[in-house]
Symmetry: D4
């Protein structure tokens, strides 16, 4: 069996505006090592998601030294990153402490691609005053990522209060009927708040990519308006 | 096959404090007719739930004339009822117009057993101001029934705002992941609000019975306090 | 039981930028009639979704005459609508003829709120050349709604090819494991394409509202860029 | 990423009559440590639920010494507690030895909030005489918590025998179709006994909070009766 | 396409001790007609199950006249039947009026194969006294069929009280989580009562066949004991 | 919390003909120890099921010495057992090597209660000749337990070939759609073979108890025939 | 909204070797009419699947006259078809009369594409002798389609007996756990018989297409062997 | 309990054309050891699937030395294997690095039975150009195995592009709604591409066996064409 088992999607940045991340959950050490080596040789930077601590430990020291690892979010970043160029346009709202890991995956992904976000933590609806105190700040953002587990009432309530694009990330916290995030997912999809969109359970990375797609559109529009011109090119 | 297929639980009132209702959903005309006849002969009053209009139509005119039928709630009542003896102690909160039938089943059941309730309609969380305007009124009630479909965020939000016993009734409105009320049910059960209790989807009757169990306990306690005495006897 | 069972969310436009639509699926004739009357008296326009032909027929002639009904999409519109003010910024891509009703719900919703969209019909991946022929046109749009049933491979493939925000609408076509859209929904949520966001099965209305949230953000950004100024206000 | 990731719901006691508990299941050591520190500094007492032994071990010795830990129920309590002020008004009925942990979570929660309960253990319906021998004692309590796994026939049978408010707690014991408590949950929700209410699988804490809501209502009613006055204030 | 689409399992009686029944649910008129014709020509008697009234109506008059149809159980019987040769050895216990159709399918199947049973109707556990009053009679039967919907607590309670073989038939009554009998099925399978066996939802026919298998074994044993001899031959 | 958490169902033998077994899966060491101590003091024998090796190891040496442990079946037996008094009347048929543990649980349970059985191993239908070679032997038994995982075709095929009572035990072997035995369970319940009865996934104990119920009925019948008299007493 | 809503995959025959069929289940009359018109104008022949009788009736007489409709299989064929050019290489095995419609969909699809098949009807495993009598005939075919509902034991047994490619088609017959074919599907996928492949529930069309893919490969191979040459070109 | 718990299906090769493999997932060391011993004594070669490293380690050194173990695919092979006799006729296409283990199980199985295949790795549809670059090569193969997790769009897209028999293997990669491969499985079964066939999740072995069945049919056909004769004998 040949070792050439990874064909990086090197044209993704050109097509989509952001390069391919590496989802490490089911990968073996040898596979990860070859992928990282490829990127380092090509001087491409690399975002690694769902990189467990034991997977990191199994990599050769020379590779580990090149990876900026963040244990809560299970993300690793190789190579250069630029700081955010614009003021934040994304609010990241989360319901409780248990949602921190998923929220952090989103934050790290945004940071890797050069976008900042404003965090609103622990504003779950069981103590509604915490959210109501901050809703005016959240309203100012054109894009909102709302992270919540259990019954995921937060994204519904947020999407009923603010006009921006709201991306719900159901979280696999809870037990019993929470069913590894299935109840949260279904609640978000069945939400009575109009226009709430949803990503897979625990998919902080996906929510960040959706937000990136939206902010790139904003950038194009702003650019187009500035130059009094043409179509959105993505 | 003998016709004697119904054995009414005539000792239920003595045991539980309220008599047996008749759940008509899967019953045939002949079965319903015999049950009603039994009650009329014994001069027992009778609550019929899930009584479809076509089932009512199929009954003999003499029985139909004795039934006070309410089409939205699909309930029928035979025989005497007393008006409520006390001021209402139960709030009945519902999210939207589509929940009206289930809420009405609860209201009619309470009325049959001599309890009034205060209705708070169309206060779903997609327009949160509607609920917040009325929350002080709801807070005054020791028992709250909260009826909601789709993502059922309402019971969670209510139970986070009021101190009384909150009984959630998930409703089978919605489509797709709403799954005939399954998403609403799971959201209510996985709620982050402490002490929210839940009944089966669309079970307005069950929520009313739970509320009855609680108000009977209040009555006993009040009676006991008045007479400076004894234990709660239910 | 009082008739006052509908409390319209009259502040929604101010909060979210678009007014409340009426979801008719589980509503009774009397309820619909009161809601429409309220809107007509207040001279508010009204979008009705999931309005079945038999529900329309049951309304009084005077109301029916005021409703612009579209049978395929099951939508009705009362009152004035302005034509779209800007060139279309939304692509609406669908996989097959069977998806037409859901796509039409999205189109009508966008039209009600003054947004045009460009349709790309019958470009399902079983005959991939149909999509590839048109991908450059789709790439030009900052927002893409992708409607597909069965295995919903289309949204994944589209989101791998274009940089805009892609909102997947799973459709309840198919049979067996298609399970009323559940397979399509899960495929869209589990998609390997980064940043694909999803709404409930058959929820053309929700996808349109998400697109509206995104285009309003674009408008704000463009306006802000024009006036060389401040924050996005939604 | 800032450390300020926990915003305690400090107004909960005022709103609901009992303060916020900390659900530890998905929390990391650092998060727990900060939450406990906050409470200790503010001299607030604290109920910790689902606190695994290894989570406790990971806390600093100074915090561990302040926590009254109960391994079976996985609960920890920091700070003062008053003994129960009234005779017990809550019966806690459980089906078998395997339900002991969930029952203990309920008991500890009640104790934290100053309520006693009477335990009826191992009265599952496979040996019905055990329950029938004790049913008169259970009948005397206005509130009953019924804990059972597998097919959860116990709550149904209890709710058919006693007039008080019966809160079912399905338990995740069993295997195969028991499905981590799903069969027990559905049996309790589909119960033929009128007015049985249900909380999430294994949610002893939630059942205790529901019981607290009910006993606080009893207290208010009794107080109101004593003083010949006013409304229930919760 | 040839018409010869039915190959009756004519050797079944010899193998299993009872002949093949015809499950009519998905069959078309032409198919049923050919099957009945085949049986009439061969002078075989025939049990038809799940024969809807409209299916019966669609048969030619000459066939209809030969069928003894029982509408509640949806069963039809062609040809001779002998009366039961022995006193009943099967108890048929059911929870409520709604279970009557399934119980009747079992009764009719037993009757077709020459076995009587004793009926115990409406003994559901919500009013436990009704069952306890009759438990001694049920105990006398070596085989018990227990029919119940919703939470199916009845089979568990029965199997905890009597020593015979207990076959549970879950019934698709109820709504919401009852899920067309799934909750009842899972409760019966997860029962804490030892040795309870279960058939498919609504499968009165299957329960009767299981009972037949058991009584034929009893007959063989009794025969063997009488003749002081050999092995059980089925 | 009191230690008296186990109330043995000491009247079970009298009621059902076999005493209570102890299901150890979710029990803690202390609980097991008290249960065993109770039995030893009372000189009752005891069947322990789902007793994991680590649970056994955690018991005090004095108790371990009294337990006859069988690791494959995870069963332990304390106290005296009589050998089987009669020739075997139960066939135990299993599909593959992976079903051995479940089959052994059934065998050990039967042995504890004094019944022998004849084993037919590895006769799964993928190599049908293995079953067909032995079908005549199986036919001679009045009771057959059929153990199979994956698609559980074996119980269907067996029940189509033999006249005895066939109890299917679905096994949680397999992966993917096998879903911990759910596919096997549903296949057994949906079987086209008439009168197949089913127990929970992996429930070798339950199948053995069902077989015991049936053989006790055979014994009564035989006894009754011998003495030319009376009713079946179980 | 433009009417141009159907883009036929006219290159499919060239790519796959068979042209596009029209799945009519969710299509409206107008849509079907336009699709048929397009085909008739282009003189393309057309296979219509899941064409309900009422859909056919709604078409204009001129179109109906051109459609060879087969009610049991719900298929319609427009235009020329050639008879099969080769002896049959496909066996179509089905379990019972209720599977006839699905089997007929497969047969008609094969016929449309010029392939014959040999039918083996009513050979379900409940009466195994029916299958064993014909197994030698089935063994001679390189491709076998096995159609079965309920527990779908037939495909497993067949795949254990014959060496050809076996395609299982689960059928949505049955009730309760049969769950519209889900149990049959899972049994087929979890089969212990090696190399059994599966299509969606009731998908006779898909099984026929799979068989076509296989026979086209046989044709290529045979052609290649005849001409002593090259690679398979599909 | 006797040790003779394995009855190898020694006639399988003669019936099906390939011998029985040993599925090791749930087997214990003793069981595996006896099976291997049997094969070694009989000088039969043996394919072991799902053989975990720890299971291998537990075998006696003498057996381990005879097993060619491949850790990624968890397969072991004892005994002789012949190299492939023909040029490859099977394409093995996989979506991403995470699918490598399942693909390897297929490859090793094919190798064991003397068939080669051509690998196309990492051609998932998120970067569609990778597949389109290689589609002409894939088209040349009469049989294609397509391995993919998450949303499994790859098999659909492949089956829409190539004429050969396409066998989808859903993979249990992913998280949340991916649900251990259930979303991938359902997407493959609900595929809009005609004639796609599917095996169980992660069943690389089964896909290889299906491919073997197909290539053996090709061999027979080629042989038959060569010799201008007879029927396919498998």
């Amino acid at each position: 069996m040949a070792d050439q088992d990874h064909v990086p999607d090197i044209r993704r940045e050109e097509r989509l505006g952001f390069d391919e991340a590496v989802f490490c959950l089911h990968k073996q050490t040898g596979q990860l090592q070859r992928i990282i080596e490829q990127a380092l040789s090509a001087r491409r930077s690399l975002l690694l998601t769902r990189l467990a601590a034991h997977q990191l430990e199994a990599l050769p020291e020379s590779q580990r030294a090149r990876i900026d690892y963040h244990p809560l979010s299970l993300t690793g970043i190789c190579g250069e990153r630029q700081g955010p160029k614009t003021p934040p346009r994304i609010a990241l709202v989360s319901a409780g402490t248990s949602d921190a890991a998923v929220a952090a995956e989103a934050t790290r992904t945004l940071a890797y691609y050069g976008e900042a976000c404003v965090r609103f933590q622990d504003v779950g609806v069981a103590g509604l005053w915490r959210l109501l105190e901050r809703v005016e700040e959240i309203r100012r953002m054109p894009i909102v990522i709302a992270v919540a587990g259990m019954d995921a009432a937060l994204p519904s309530v947020v999407a009923g209060l603010v006009p921006g694009l709201v991306v719900a990330v159901p979280v696999s916290t809870g037990y019993g009927v929470a069913a590894q995030g299935q109840a949260a997912l279904n609640a978000a999809l069945a939400s009575c708040a109009p226009g709430l969109v949803v990503v897979n359970v625990d998919n902080g990375y996906g929510a960040a990519c959706a937000a990136l797609r939206a902010v790139r559109a904003l950038d194009s529009t702003a650019g187009a308006a500035d130059s009094s011109g043409g179509g959105v090119t993505g």
